[in-house]
Structure formats: structure tokens, C-alpha cells
């Protein structure tokens, strides 16, 4: 076997050789099994916290490990080692092998050869872990000053910076041999405003899969800070949110969390393979108004949810989930695609080497429609205009989902009026998009802050939305 090994940290620092890789795969399939893969990861993270006008602390993390996975039918055996010595990886491979119980079949292992990546979405001349702390601290200082300058009602500012530089190498028994370097940066600003004993908070963050050059324009540290301060001060004058079903207009960008919760999770292939999703069996059926076309696109340069390849080494792509209201398909990983006889979509993701991959979203958004956003607002007699959201959650089996507005306004006679207190919106995933009656021409993606949790694993994602109008959804305020 001849492999032109890439100049990765795994070969250079840890001395992993091509012959080693083949022996690990052979050990993994030593009790039969249909497929095995190795996921080597070297991850460096930094953080800096600026608070109460000083640099409070800085941190660095270094995590190294390899996950060994064996598939046998729909069964998964998994083990990992944080020690990249030959003996330790062989032991992990032997442990993972125990999921299968047949005779070894050497023909299952194809000779791995380096595969060219199909995408180059975020190569950075300087990786975040190669930069010193000075520029990072300077950005936090700028953010702090900008937030405090916004209003004298701002009592507390916490500005924080985090980055990640992840190198991965994936080798499969099917002969894939791919590697990637994945940068990520993010800046967060939290402000607390206080006036006459009334206290409110505002939060904004931003970033992407690249280096510090991402922090300009909308993502300038000062712009992020002013946005956090604006939200905190605005909430000081918020009135009680209404309670009950009503017409709701969602602003463009981050409110796309609606799509992530209402339909995205329900379209992950594992839940549909097991028929535990409210969307199981609905491909080809109308699940949304014909104004709605929804995609999951992992190939947008520099986006937080983008990847050159997923965590099983397969190329990401743009997958149409809903076209003009009709459900097109699911988000696949290799296990589900194999079991369902479906095409791969490049959505097999994992938090890190100590986790089993599963179908996950990347950047999920609705395509722009034709309405002008101001016409959408004008068309509402009485309703809610929701601009910013905190988190969301879904029960994929019943289809019920929530997402919580942190900045919203009443709409009265076609005009945006009073800001209201935070309120949770609740709806039904398979039916909520049927209620979409207008779609704006102003698609935006979020600023790069999404964290998606599933079965104890988190991965970075993005969402996006044009302005849309939903005929009726239940708003959980206190004002009846």
C-alpha cells in the first residue's frame, strides 16, 4: 500500500503511518462488520474574557484523540483513545470490533488512497491558533467601550472571544482517506442595562469559519457590542407580551431558528429511518405553503455551519429539503443512507473524537420570496413582529417545537409599535409552514452564533430566513 500521506499533525507529531492505519482498520473488522472508520482529531481552542473593564482570564485547550467505529448492519460499535500510540489505538479498534460477531473478511478493506477534497471553503492564510492574544484583546476592548458608550444605562458588559483550530484525518475501510483544517472564531457581547430597579440583558455574537478578518462590517466588534447594548436598553421599555394564537412576522436572519426546530431536526435521516419522526413517510407530500423552499447548504464559504467534508469524510452539499412546499428528502449520514438506500448528503457530523457521528444540519435556510418586507408588515392588522430569538427545542416525535423571542414588537394596523417582553412561541413542525402566507425578498443568514444540541452532542450551525408572515402561531406571553 502506498499513501502519499498529507503533512498532518498526526504523521508529523504523533508518527501515525499509513501501515498503522491499515492495521487499525483490519483490527476493527476482525470480527466481521460491514464498515469501519478512524477519525483522528487535533483541536486547539482559545478564549479570552473581558469583563468589568479588565481582561479577566484567558484559556487554551488542546485535545487529541482518535475514534474507531465499526458498523454491522444498523449496529454501531465505538471506542476512542486519547493516546495515539499503536497499542492504544489497536485496543480501541478491538473494543469497537465487538459489535460484530462473524469471521473477519479481509475483502472489506479497500486500500486507502488520499482523496482530493471537493471544496475549499475556509482556507485561512493565518489560523486563529497562530495569532497572539494582543489583537484579540484589542477587539474586546473596542467592544467594551462601544457598548458602554451606547447608553449610561449599561451597567455590565462582558465581551468574550473564542477560537478553534481543528485538524481531522478520516480513513475508512471503503478506501476514503481525507483530511481537513477547520478554523472557527466567535465574539460574544453580553450587556446588562438597569434603570429604576428594572434590569434587562442584551446579547449579540458573531463569527464564522475563518480567522480574525471575519470581524468587519456587520461583525465589527463595535457593531456587535452596540447591538447587544441596544437590545438591553430597548427591553427596559418592553410591555407584557400577548398570550394566545396570532399572526406573527419573523424578521430575516437568526429567526430562521424556526426552520431548524420546526422541520430541520425532524428531517434528520436517523429519526426517519427509525420512523420516530413526525415527518417519517412524508417525502413527496406537501408540508409547507408553496411559497416555501428550504435548503441545508454546507458549502457556503466561511459560514459557521459550513464544512469541506462532513465528519465521515464525505463532501458537503446543498440539499433541498422542501421545494415549493413539497418535502424532498432527508439529511443523511452513512449509516442511515446505507440502511435506507439513499444518497449521501454530507450531513454526518460529530462533536469530537469521543462521539459517534449522526445526521446533523449545517446552514439551514429558506430561499427568498418576492414580497417587500415593508408590505409584509403593512398587511398585518394585529400581530407580533419577532426580531431576535434565544434558543429553541423540538420533540421530533410529536412534532411540537418552541423558540423563544428575546426582541419582539406589537404590530398594530400595519405599523410596528411597542416592544414586548420575551415570549416563547410554540407550534407544530409538520404544519407550521403551511401557515406561511408571505415570504420576503430579503434573505439573510445569521451572524454566526448557532450551537445545535442533539443527544448530548453540540455542533456549530447557521440558520437563515427572509422576512416571513405566519398566519397563526401560539405566543406565550402573559397579557391575555
Amino acid at each position: 500500500m502506498v499513501i502519499n500521506a498529507p503533512p498532518s499533525v498526526f504523521t508529523a507529531t504523533y508518527g501515525v503511518t499509513p501501515a498503522d492505519l491499515e492495521s487499525y482498520l483490519a483490527e476493527a473488522l476482525s470480527r466481521g462488520g460491514d464498515y469501519a472508520d478512524l477519525y483522528f482529531e487535533h483541536r486547539v481552542n482559545h478564549s479570552i474574557v473581558f469583563e468589568e473593564q479588565i481582561v479577566k482570564t484567558a484559556t487554551k485547550s488542546v485535545n487529541v484523540g482518535v475514534g474507531v467505529r465499526v458498523l454491522s448492519g444498523e449496529k454501531t460499535g465505538y471506542a476512542y483513545s486519547e493516546d495515539l500510540s499503536r497499542a492504544s489505538i489497536l485496543k480501541a479498534a478491538r473494543t469497537a470490533a465487538f459489535i460484530a460477531s462473524a469471521a473477519p473478511d479481509g475483502s472489506k478493506i479497500k486500500e486507502p488512497g488520499p482523496v482530493a477534497r471537493e471544496h475549499d471553503l475556509y482556507s485561512a492564510p493565518i489560523l486563529p491558533n497562530e495569532l497572539g492574544v494582543d489583537r484579540k484583546i484589542a477587539m474586546l476592548e473596542e467592544a467594551n467601550l462601544a457598548a458602554r458608550a451606547y447608553s449610561d444605562k449599561i451597567r455590565h458588559v462582558q465581551a468574550s472571544y473564542v477560537d478553534e483550530t481543528k485538524q481531522i484525518l478520516i480513513v475508512t475501510s471503503e478506501g476514503r482517506y481525507v483530511w481537513d483544517v477547520q478554523p472557527m472564531v466567535r465574539l460574544n457581547v453580553l450587556c446588562i442595562a438597569e434603570e429604576n430597579g428594572n434590569r434587562q440583558s442584551g446579547y449579540q455574537g458573531g463569527g464564522g469559519r475563518r480567522s480574525l478578518d471575519v470581524f468587519s462590517g456587520d461583525l465589527d466588534p463595535k457593531a456587535i457590542a452596540r447591538e447587544a447594548a441596544r437590545q438591553a436598553v430597548l427591553q427596559l421599555s418592553a410591555v407584557d407580551a400577548p398570550a394566545g394564537p396570532m399572526e406573527v412576522v419573523l424578521a430575516p436572519g437568526w429567526p430562521g431558528i424556526l426552520l431548524h426546530e420546526a422541520i430541520g431536526h425532524g428531517l434528520e435521516a436517523d429519526f426517519n429511518r427509525k420512523k420516530t419522526s413526525a415527518f417519517a413517510g412524508l417525502v413527496g407530500q406537501k408540508v409547507a405553503s408553496e411559497l416555501c423552499t428550504v435548503v441545508d447548504d454546507g458549502t457556503i464559504p466561511f459560514r459557521r455551519g459550513s464544512l469541506n467534508m462532513d465528519d465521515e469524510g464525505n463532501p458537503t452539499r446543498n440539499t433541498v429539503l422542501i421545494e415549493k412546499g413539497v418535502l424532498q428528502g432527508y439529511l443523511q449520514d452513512s449509516l442511515s443512507a446505507r440502511a435506507m438506500g439513499a444518497e449521501l448528503t454530507g450531513n454526518g457530523r460529530r462533536q469530537s473524537y469521543d462521539h459517534i457521528p449522526m445526521p446533523r444540519m449545517t446552514n439551514t435556510f429558506m430561499m427568498a420570496g418576492e414580497s417587500a418586507p415593508e408590505d409584509i408588515i403593512k398587511s398585518v392588522k394585529k400581530g407580533l413582529y419577532a426580531v431576535h430569538f434565544g434558543g429553541g427545542q423540538v420533540d421530533i416525535t410529536s412534532g411540537k417545537f418552541v423558540f423563544s423571542a428575546s426582541e419582539a414588537y406589537l404590530i398594530e394596523d400595519g405599523h410596528i409599535t411597542a416592544p414586548v417582553k420575551g415570549a416563547t412561541l410554540i407550534g407544530d413542525g409538520p404544519t407550521v409552514l403551511r401557515q406561511v402566507t408571505m415570504v420576503g425578498n430579503d434573505l439573510q443568514l445569521d451572524r454566526g452564533v448557532g450551537i445545535c444540541g442533539k443527544e448530548g452532542q453540540t455542533v456549530p450551525v447557521s440558520v437563515g430566513l427572509p422576512t416571513i408572515k405566519i398566519r397563526e402561531i401560539t405566543v406565550g406571553g402573559t397579557e391575555k
Binding site: 481582561v55 417545537f401 417582553k421
Partner: protein, 452 residues
């Protein structure tokens, strides 16, 4: 990799010595070693089987009143040595903070209580026994009713962990613990609509786990009672939180009394120490000394001896919870709640944080509720800790004239935590630990339900 506990103690001491040699004025190092096993059985077949041994080093260094922290899973000497040097260098780039530093030297103890965290009986369970427990839990759930036709499986999880902490004051402590759980997640299908629910049992001791059959049956009962769920009209009504959802309320309360939220003025309980913040029937403890408790430990992540802290005493806010840092900042004493983040820096975390049980049985609470909602699931993150505003998705059973009637979902319940705590009017005698935060059943006489 094989190295016994003594090696981990030596390594922790070696790391703080190296930090000192690299120029740190103070340092502490925590090493966590964990061995884990988990299996999920779905529709009778093993679906996933995972085993691991992991180790992580978390280091904190001080350069006078400046601090930085680091973490690594790579414990090879060269990597650790370089990380120690980099961490000291990072600390030099941060600002002086008068409250910074290790806990005061006088706080550290050298002997620790046995909190019964470790049960050797887990070792007697073979992988086959463990798989069988997961399988039995799922099978019991599937057998409970013909409408249960699908499942997310039955699981068995086990972990054994060891924590070693050393610092430059010469403190050296370690403890080990075990924990395991059994769970089941059945799905009912009736008239094309599916409902899913779960149950689990968790304990540090094998003998205290519910049987797999009991877990499966309870999970099935919980899924079955959701069949036919509907919305209700928007209204005001009493809310009875079951122990699992009430523990969510305790989670919010913990965040609101944590010292870091207080100095940031990010809590609705800022400036309220010594004031009545809850109904007189409410007493809340943070008790790290609970024998066998899932949140128990002999000392916290910076070596402060564990204690029992009365957070709310008969309605009055008695104490905030502190790390050494937040205690210095707020002029108080550390309460043994120093918790290390994944990256090694210090924050404030709960030990066993719970509402003390009342005298009413849950049935009595329901029987005393004329009209309201018995909540068994909350979803979403609609809680604003800065001012207490609360709005979350809920599912449960409607209570009419003291009786549980039809299931309800796709609704929200809203209010404000300040008022919710003040107005609690019945507390159950059914305190249930399914984690380190716990609560009995709790009734709040009036909240807004948003539905149809």
C-alpha cells in the same frame, strides 16, 4: 495507557511544580480520569455500544493577581510542559484583578468524609449483564400496551471517575465515584399520531437502581398518558409541576443565586440577601455532603471543603453560592461551589441543590386543585434570569375538580420567577433525585397558559 491513582497524584503535583518553575506565583491542577460504558438496545437489537477511558488535565495559574487556565487530553510530558509555560505566559497578558487567587490557605483540609461515592458492585456486571438490562428495560416498555409499536430504545450507562487536585499550597486530594443509569424511550402510535416519553433511574450504587422492568413500565405509562393530547384555551390556572419539571425551576434558581450571576447583576435575586424571596414553606439547600449523592464530593474543584449551605431558609434568601473568586468579590465566604469549566477556568456550580420536601402527597395536591395543569414536560429556554420573566412550552394533564383528565400539549406557561417563588402554595413529600438538582412536586396557584 496504564497508570494507577498514585501516578495521577504525582502528575498533578508535578504540573503545579512546573507552573511554579515557569514563574507562576500560585497554581492548581485538576486531573479527571473517566472510564465509561454505554449501550443502547433498540427493538431488541444492540444499536450502539461504546466504551472509553479518558483523561483530562485542567490547570489554572496565577501571576500575582493575574490568571489564565488551560486544559489538555494529551498528557505526554512534552505537551504538558509546553502548555504550562504557555498558560503562565497567557496569565501575564491578562489584567490584575484584586479578587483573583487560590482559596485562602487556611480553608484547605487534609482529611475528608467518606461520602459513599464509589460502589464496587458495578464491576460484577459483565458487558452481557449490562446489555441485558438495557434490553429488559425496552422490552418491558414495549410489552406494556399494543399501541407501543416503536422505540428509541433502552439504555444502560455506567461511568467510574477519579478526580485528583493539587495546588501550590501543598493541597493534595482525590476521590473516586461511580454512577450508572437505566433508561427507556417508548413511542406510541394511535390514529397516525405518535407520542414519545422516557423514564430513567440513576444512582451511584447498583442496588439503588430501579429494576429495568420498573423503568420500562414507567416510561410506557408516561408515553401512554400523552395519547390524544390537545391544546387548551388561553387562560389563567393553577400549575402543578411534577418532580422532573419542578427540578427545572430549581435549576433556574441555582443560576440566580450563583455568585457569578450576582456580581454581574445578571440575576433577579441581586441585592436580596436576607429578604423574603419565596413562600415561607420553601427551603432550598446546596448539600455537597449528601451520602451517595450524585452531586456530592469531599471538596470542590479548587479544594475548598464541601459543606451544606442553606440557600433559602423558610422563604428568606440566606446565602448566595460561591467560588473563592466570587466570595472575595462579594465580601463573603467560599461555599465549596467552585466548578471548573472544560477549559480549566473557574465558575460556580451546584452540588446537590434541592427543594426540601413538604408534607403533601402528589395525589393530595392534585385532589386539592379545582382547575389547572399537571405539567410533566417543559421545553425551550424562555427564562430571563436577569428579571425572572418566564415563558416555556409545556405538556401535561388537565386537572378538573381535583382529577387528572385529558392530556394537553402545544401550549406555553408564563409568569415571573419572582412571583412564582413567592406564590408556591403546596409542596409534595416526593423529593426525587434523578440528578444533582432535585425537587418534589410543587404547585403554583396561578400562571398564564397560552393555547388556542
Amino acid at each position: 495507557m496504564s497508570s494507577g491513582s498514585d501516578n495521577l497524584r504525582e502528575l498533578a503535583q508535578e504540573v503545579v511544580r512546573e507552573a511554579r518553575n515557569a514563574g507562576a506565583s500560585e497554581a492548581d491542577a485538576l486531573i479527571l480520569e473517566e472510564e465509561a460504558f454505554s449501550v443502547t438496545v433498540r427493538l431488541g437489537e444492540v444499536e450502539t455500544l461504546k466504551e472509553s477511558i479518558s483523561r483530562t488535565l485542567r490547570l489554572r495559574v496565577f501571576d500575582g493577581k493575574r490568571t489564565a487556565a488551560s486544559q489538555t487530553s494529551d498528557l505526554t510530558p512534552a505537551v504538558v510542559r509546553q502548555l504550562v509555560a504557555e498558560t503562565v505566559e497567557m496569565a501575564r497578558r491578562t489584567s490584575e484583578d484584586p479578587s483573583s487567587g487560590l482559596p485562602d490557605a487556611s480553608l484547605f483540609a487534609s482529611t475528608f468524609p467518606d461520602l459513599e461515592l464509589l460502589d464496587p458492585e458495578w464491576d460484577a456486571l459483565s458487558p452481557a449483564d449490562r446489555i441485558a438490562m438495557a434490553r429488559r428495560a425496552e422490552a418491558a416498555a414495549m410489552a406494556a400496551d399494543p399501541s407501543i409499536v416503536n422505540s428509541e430504545g433502552g439504555s444502560f450507562d455506567y461511568s467510574r471517575s477519579r478526580t485528583v487536585l493539587a495546588n501550590t499550597f501543598g493541597f493534595l486530594g482525590d476521590y473516586a465515584g461511580t454512577a450508572g443509569s437505566i433508561s427507556a424511550v417508548p413511542i406510541t402510535q394511535t390514529d397516525g399520531a405518535m407520542q414519545r416519553d422516557y423514564w430513567f433511574s440513576t444512582s451511584r450504587r447498583v442496588s439503588q437502581l430501579e429494576s429495568p422492568e420498573a423503568v420500562g413500565r414507567r416510561a410506557a405509562e408516561r408515553a401512554l398518558r400523552r395519547v390524544g393530547a390537545r391544546k387548551v384555551k388561553t387562560c389563567e390556572a393553577a400549575i402543578v409541576f411534577d418532580p422532573l419539571t419542578a427540578r427545572g425551576l430549581m435549576g433556574h434558581l441555582f443560576q440566580a443565586v450563583a455568585g457569578d450571576a450576582i456580581y454581574r447583576r445578571g440575576s433577579f435575586l441581586v441585592d436580596r440577601l436576607g429578604s423574603p424571596v419565596a413562600a415561607p414553606s420553601i427551603s432550598v439547600l446546596d448539600n455537597a455532603l449528601l451520602k451517595g449523592g450524585l452531586g456530592s464530593s469531599p471538596f470542590d474543584d479548587e479544594g475548598v471543603p464541601s459543606q451544606t449551605t442553606r440557600v433559602i431558609d423558610r422563604g428568606t434568601l440566606g446565602n448566595y453560592l460561591h467560588s473563592a473568586y466570587t466570595a472575595r468579590k462579594l465580601g463573603s465566604r467560599p461555599t465549596g461551589n467552585g466548578a471548573r469549566t472544560g477549559a480549566g477556568s473557574m465558575t460556580v456550580g451546584p452540588s446537590n441543590f434541592y427543594l426540601e420536601p413538604g408534607t403533601h402527597s402528589p395525589d393530595e395536591i392534585i385532589a386539592n386543585t379545582k382547575s389547572g395543569l399537571y405539567v410533566f414536560e417543559m421545553i425551550g429556554s424562555g427564562v430571563n434570569l436577569v428579571n425572572g420573566d418566564y415563558s416555556r412550552g409545556a405538556a401535561g394533564l388537565w386537572i378538573e375538580n381535583g382529577k387528572l383528565t385529558y392530556p394537553v400539549h402545544e401550549i406555553t406557561i408564563s409568569g415571573n420567577l419572582k412571583e412564582m417563588l413567592q406564590s408556591v402554595d403546596m409542596i409534595g413529600n416526593d423529593l426525587l433525585f434523578m440528578g444533582n438538582i432535585a425537587s418534589p412536586t410543587v404547585r403554583i396557584p396561578r400562571m398564564v397558559i397560552s393555547g388556542e
